[in-house]
């Protein structure tokens, strides 16, 4: 009874103080060894009632309640809070403050924790580090700065950012991206390509795909307070299914309830120039087979001699004249200086209970491609509030993002129209590309462009394009109620909704009858008609997430603390893609779905998934130096078989601050921590893989397809995918261990982490033998076969992060030099595949394919290779290498290791930062190389000065009368007029892929920034509290191995996940950026 009354009383008094003085609390503050500490502030928590300790470390304080929380703090010591009661003497120990002990990080579920208590590796970056070089996307500034994180930007303004933590673990479904979490709520990171990416295709492939970025590229970096990267499963297990690849925890800026209004402005001007381009040869000019041919699209002609000669079509009885010599910087001259600007203004402030933060951000960016073909305009609005009313707090965040973006078609042109990049690569080296900019000029227009085999690149540039407009809202409300002294309940509801409208268009055109390109040229070759196209898509992505968390924090005794929580989660993600396109436009320039005599081809796709989860976590601390955390979670997913849809996973981690336990003050070690963690997450499959279904009767042809209904007859066949009613989740389990060391009073800090992550039960639609009846993907789909849990992938690696203050000046404005170094090595291996599966093909370009093969990496590049006999290449009758019957392993596409180095110098008001990113090892396939070798533009094609040659180290098969085959040394020359056959896979299947596959290592100067902070004196007159101006450059320098004379190895148009590891297929070049950034705070 008494208990119940106490409880009632507790409820009644929950949020109000008693008005009566209760008594005096007295005690003593010492260090861990018992020495008294003087001058320590002691305050009643949340009030102004306080005092400080005397020289003997003692204090006494009158308080209003019987039991209060006291906050102890002092310069150089770690603050501490203790619950005390009147009448009981208080003995508090404060630990000497060590920088490493003060760091607070935001962990899973948005919970802030002292970093030293964590049993896993984290990396945190603040707003200044993220925004130093005014990036458009939040992760761009972090490339090379996080050990174990591979971050790459893949193309022009607003294009996708690739972020892979600790290697690829997931084979199927293109799902190796980390989970992005903003203020505790998952953010959708769907690729924003729009379903109208290519006719009927939802995934990036070689044919004309568009990159409008991924979900994380929408967030305004200026609004971010900090980013914490949780690389391992030990850290992310609480998120359940979605965080199997690690998590990026984003904390946004909030208003401070301090009564002051703060206005901050950040703006930048950004310029971009084209980065690496394929190197072209300068010895041979237009032609084919060694002959000068006016209408050829390659440089297989005679030697350049500089003599003025007519070129191109004869129009109105006249022809242009130019010297027969290579044009310098021919492709480079096509590109222009990209310009961009960012403007961000934020207002923040608040009264004693409520803080607010409002911001408006604008990015306007016109990339290096002339015209607005690559263009991004992004407006972001944010309003956040945070209120505290006694024991209740309420936070809200509303974010609206409007994007208007143009992206060029990349990849392979098709009958509806050409691609800019393909067109550029097939112009002979002696023909000045920039002249073609007058693409309506009579010599360069559709009728008379010099070659019927290609198109004037300025035509697709000006006449074709794609635009996406999107509206995105994301936000959350978060309520916390401290309903009992040690209990807090928190409810959080978040949502992320995107609507996108994508519009692509290609102008129809055809050479006029009788014109040069209609076949009236020296080769009699007509150019195919471009029938034109209009693509419209409407896409919706929406996620809802809510968590209810009850947490309990208590010092159990003098030595033991307990932090515990239990929670429940609801998650739903919905998607709808509607897509229509027409071809054969009737009226040029009218880009509407009605503009064709043919009906539009449409598709409609819906996807819905739900998950329910419950979880619990408890951390027990011992003497503030040993922490053990255990967590469990159970999810129920809609995408698993309904009667077996639960996923359970546990995790445990521990941290030991050895430097607190032992007195290391006589050693150089100022901080020493050991940690170890184990965690599991279970990932559910993509929706709709458990039930048998039909498919449309559409049939794939060699090119194009035959679609149903056919002349009024509807047709549906049995699906070519065998669903799996026993599908299991993918289970990722990871063990990691590490140490964090501070040396010489933390002048040197070192973090070393080793981990092993096993991703088991990979879900994949396993290709099975066609004769089983399930082999052919439907048009627009990429796979067929049996849905199965197929195997195990292990990533094992080590990460090292080293920070050192090389020079640390005592004077506040003196010279300081700091270096930050990261090293990460990850070994990726497919341990096994089930059912005797020999490999899984992840992506293909022509005859190059990316495979996951047991015993090798998940990303192994296979392609045609030479047939070998006794170590010699077997050639055919023409002297050209033959292909071996099986594809050859060219090695893993994954980097062997990566290193980053950042140097920071500060002197007076200046600070200079320079970071390098080095990635070593791995191979890639280049579709750009393929085209410049085919056209004879590439430098490699001048091999042997294009004189006749015999393929080195080769033999030819000789069959005698009775059919016996022997091999004789090959003497068959590849003639000077047939040189081109050596450089093309059709004629040289044996070694042409060796020419197109190369080492993807690189060293990049990621960024260099110089910032000048205005002196306070000047600023205070203008009521400015802080101001700085900086100049920066990104991707300024790039070093690659000699073999790569083609592309920036980071550029790809094959997506930002595992499939993109294959390489690139005639993608847009990556740009170098430089600019100036201004920060002012009032």
């Amino acid at each position: 009874m008494n208990k119940l009354l106490t409880l009632l009383g507790a409820f009644l008094l929950l949020s109000s103080h008693s008005l009566f003085a209760q008594g005096t609390i007295s005690g003593k503050v010492t260090d861990p060894k018992g020495a008294p500490l003087a001058g320590i502030s002691v305050y009643v928590h949340g009030t102004t009632i306080g005092t400080s300790t005397g020289s003997d470390g003692s204090f006494s304080l009158d308080v209003l309640q019987n039991e209060v929380v006291l906050d102890f703090s002092g310069v150089g010591f770690i603050p501490k809070s203790e619950t005390v009661t009147v009448g009981t003497p208080v003995a508090v120990q404060l630990v000497i403050q060590n920088k490493a002990l003060t760091e607070v990080v935001v962990t899973a579920l948005g919970i802030s924790k002292a970093k030293y208590k964590l049993g896993y590796s984290t990396a945190t970056f603040n707003s200044a580090a993220i925004n130093r070089d005014a990036p458009v996307s939040m992760m761009d500034g972090l490339a090379g700065k996080i050990a174990g994180a591979t971050i790459s930007q893949t193309g022009g303004p607003g294009s996708s950012t690739k972020v892979i933590l600790r290697g690829y673990g997931v084979i199927g479904g293109g799902n190796n991206q980390p989970l992005y979490v903003i203020d505790g709520v998952p953010l959708s990171d769907a690729l924003l390509n729009g379903s109208g990416n290519t006719a009927g295709s939802f995934t990036p492939d070689v044919s004309g795909n568009l990159d409008f970025g991924n979900g994380s590229t929408s967030v305004n970096p200026s609004d971010i307070e900090s980013i914490t990267v949780l690389k391992g499963t030990a850290a992310t297990a609480k998120y359940g299914s979605t965080a199997k690849n690690g998590a990026i925890i984003i904390t946004t800026k909030k208003g401070r309830p301090n009564g002051k209004l703060k206005i901050a402005y950040t703006g930048s001007l950004d310029y971009a120039s084209v980065g690496k381009l394929p190197e072209m040869q300068s010895e041979f000019g237009q032609g084919w087979n060694g002959q000068f041919i006016l209408s050829e699209n390659g440089s297989w002609g005679p030697k350049l001699d500089g003599v003025e000669r007519p070129w191109g079509a004869t129009v109105d009885n006249s022809q242009l004249i130019k010297p027969f010599s290579a044009v310098k910087n021919n492709i480079r001259n096509f590109y222009t200086l990209g310009t961009g600007s960012t403007n961000n203004i934020s207002l923040s402030g608040g009264d004693k209970t409520t803080g607010f933060y409002f911001s408006y951000g604008n990015v306007s960016n016109n990339g290096i491609i002339p015209t607005k073909a690559d263009y991004l305009e992004r407006n972001t609005f944010t309003l956040r509030t945070n209120s505290v009313f006694n024991n209740f707090s309420f936070n809200s965040s509303f974010n609206y993002i409007n994007r208007n973006q143009n992206a060029p078609f990349t990849g392979q042109g098709s009958t509806d129209g050409a691609s800019i990049f393909e067109s550029l690569l097939q112009i002979p080296v002696d023909i000045p590309i920039h002249d073609f900019s007058a693409y309506k000029n009579k010599f360069f227009n559709v009728d008379n462009y010099f070659s019927p085999y290609g198109e004037n690149p300025y035509y697709p540039l000006n006449e074709n394009g794609a635009n996406q407009k999107s509206d995105r809202f994301f936000g959350n409300i978060d309520m916390q109620y401290k309903f009992l002294k040690h209990f807090t309940a928190e409810y959080r509801l978040g949502g992320d909704f995107t609507n996108m409208r994508t519009h692509g268009w290609k102008q129809p055109n055809a050479p006029s009858p009788g014109s040069w390109d209609a076949g009236n040229n020296v080769e009699g070759a007509p150019r195919a008609v471009d029938v034109g196209t209009v693509i419209q898509s409407s896409d919706y992505y929406g996620t809802l997430n809510s968590d209810l968390i009850v947490s309990y924090n208590k010092d159990l005794s003098k030595d033991f603390t307990l932090d515990a929580l239990v929670g429940g989660n609801f998650y739903q993600s919905a998607q709808r893609n509607q897509f229509a396109y027409i071809t054969n436009l009737v009226i040029p320039g009218f880009f509407n779905l009605s503009n064709s005599s043919n009906p539009p081809i449409t598709s409609d796709f819906i996807s819905l998934r739900r998950r329910l989860g419950v979880y619990a976590e408890a951390t027990v601390g011992f003497k503030d130096q040993l922490f053990v955390t255990g967590n469990i979670r159970n999810d129920w997913s809609s995408t698993l078989p309904i009667n077996n849809n639960a996923i359970f996973y546990p995790g445990v981690n521990g941290a030991w601050i050895a430097s607190t336990t032992f007195d290391l003050s006589k050693t150089p070690i100022s901080y020493l921590k050991f940690r170890a963690g184990y965690g599991q997450t279970g990932s559910d499959p993509d929706p709709y893989q458990t039930n048998t279904k039909l498919r449309s009767g559409d049939v794939t042809l060699g090119f194009g397809s035959l679609n149903t209904p056919f002349n009024g007859t509807p047709a549906f066949g049995l699906s070519n995918i065998i669903p799996n009613p026993d599908l299991k989740p993918i289970i990722t389990s990871e063990v990691e261990g590490g140490t964090e060391i501070g040396l010489f009073k933390d002048r040197i800090s070192l973090e070393v982490t080793g981990y092993q992550r096993k991703t088991n039960g990979q879900i994949f639609t396993v290709p099975i033998a066609p004769s089983t009846g399930y082999a052919q993907p439907s048009p627009g789909q990429t796979n067929a076969g049996a849905v199965e849990n197929i195997g195990l992938v292990t990533n094992t690696g080590i990460e090292i992060t080293l920070g050192a203050k090389i020079i640390q000046s005592k004077a506040p404005s003196g010279f300081n030099w700091r270096i930050d170094y990261t090293y990460a090595k990850n070994n990726n291996e497919v341990n096994y595949l089930t059912n005797g599966l020999q490999n899984v093909v992840i992506n293909t370009d022509y005859d190059a394919e990316l495979r996951a093969t047991p015993g090798q990496s998940v990303s192994e590049l296979y392609a045609l290779g030479p047939e070998m006999v006794n170590g010699k290449i077997v050639v055919n009758a023409a002297g050209l290498p033959q292909a071996a019957s099986n594809k050859v392993d060219y090695g893993s596409t994954l980097n062997k290791y990566a290193m980053g180095l950042t140097n920071t110098f500060t002197y007076k008001s200046f600070s200079l930062d320079c970071s390098l990113d080095f990635r070593y090892g791995g191979v890639m396939y280049s579709g750009t190389a393929d085209l410049v070798l085919f056209t004879g533009n590439g430098v490699a094609t001048t091999y042997n000065d294009r004189k006749p040659f015999v393929v080195p180290n080769s033999v030819m098969a000789v069959t005698d009368g009775s059919g016996n085959v022997t091999y004789a040394t090959n003497t068959q020359q590849i003639g000077s007029t047939q040189n081109n056959t050596y450089w093309y896979p059709t004629s040289n299947p044996g070694t042409s892929y060796q020419q197109r596959i190369f080492d993807r290592s690189f060293l990049k100067m990621r960024d260099i920034t110089l910032v000048y902070s205005l002196p306070v004196g000047i600023m205070s007159k203008a009521k400015i509290s802080a101001a700085s101006i900086g100049v920066y450059a990104r991707n300024l320098l790039l070093w690659v191995p000699k073999a790569n004379v083609y592309v920036d190895p980071e550029s790809t148009n094959l997506g930002n996940d595992l499939a993109g590891e294959l390489g690139e297929f005639r993608s847009a070049p990556v740009s170098k950026n430089f600019g100036v950034v201004l920060n002012v705070t009032f």
Binding site: L7, V699, A769, D847
Partner: protein, 503 residues
Amino acid sequence: MKSKIFFLRSVSSLFLLTALVAIATSCKKDLDINTDPNVPGYNDASVALVLPAGELATTAKLGGDLAILGGIWSQYYTQSAVANQYKSYDAFDVKTTDVVDNSSYDILFSDGLKNYQYVIDSSKSQQNWSYYLMATVMKAYTTGILVDLYDKIPYSQALQGTANLNPAFDDGYTIYQSLISSIDTALGKDFTAPTNTPITTPGYVASDLVFGGDISKWKQFANTLKLKFYLRMVNAHPSVASAGIISLFAAADSATFLSVDASVTNFTDVPNKDNPMYEQNIRSLNTPDNLRASVTLASWLAQYGDTRCLKYFGDSTANAINQGDFNGTTPSYATADVFVEKPTDPVIFISAAESAFLQSEADLRYLGAGHAKELYDTGVARAFEAAGQANEIDSFILPGKPYDSLYTAAPLEAIITQKWLSFPIGCHEIEGFFERNRTGFPVSSPVYSTDPSYIPGEFVIGPNSVLSSGLYPKRLVYPYDETSRNTSAPALVPITTAVWWGL
């Protein structure tokens, strides 16, 4: 203190437990949303919906990839010297990994045979015999094409999905026997039974794309197909062929064999709804003029003044390229005539002319009923009609006219050669390749077609052939998709080895 906390913990645990129970019960309903809303479910399938899906698959591959490959290997047309697309075909360089090899095989099994088997099984259980016959004939026809291309293929253990991931390869001849017997079984059913359903989907047009459900025509297709199968056996199993044909004709009347094309028509000049060869070779390929007149066919047409040249190459005499000379620099190559394709061309499975030629050959070889010449004339006439040259028939087959004289000189060679001349109609080119491999006609030339001694119409080997001298392709190599995923797959057989019925 302690006990209070314990109590509070119990209360909150109870609260959470209640919440958990609530979650667990709502779980089932909220989570039972995994039925794909984007496609019909398996239970929505019906014979009327699935049969046309199968027919389209056979149509698409026979009339697409295989027509082009067959057309080049039958030397009707050749790779243009100013383009690239089909160089490997003309170089006889089709490898196990090539798309043409794999995609036809994959689609014929997955979208063709599997759907036919569904219709066979489903109609059998429903005693819906008209669908049973149609699916059986289409499955036999499609399987026959695969046997003719690859010799051994999985048959008895095929189409079982995960129940048999490694189906054994069956002997081609055994498969043929089984196909014939399955046709016989289907023909023996009662097509007047009340369990037969109309060949339409309610509210739609006929679900059968070939004959609109006309069972009498399907019976003719079935018999003509049997005749074709028996004639394929003339080299390997002549006595079986002879006995089969004699028994087939014993019960024959005028309605036994096809007198019209077994074909899919109704293509429209619209993307994805047009003739598959046109769609893939013209509409969807950026170079529409890869296929140029071959000297092999063009020289024959010129020699005899055959007016079908107009139909095939749009010209009364064709400017042609020597077969396989795609690297040649002869100036006239650039303007060589392009093979004429139309978006509305039919895709023919067995043509009316072919039916007559098959009957003619049967009579000539085994029946001796004296109708061989008459049937030959009918075949030639039907072939000319199909080419829009009906008016020209008499000037070729009347006594003393060229094709009459050729028959007189060598009847079998004349029949097969005329058949060869008819196959470019309706994307049926692959049959020209098969029939030459079976009969050796048209004969191989000892010299290349540039040689003055070259005899028009004789087959030549192009300068870019990757095969040992004198060799022609006689099959396709087992596709990589199959050999890499089926542990029962036999070793690769060279492209120059004849299939079981071949010479």
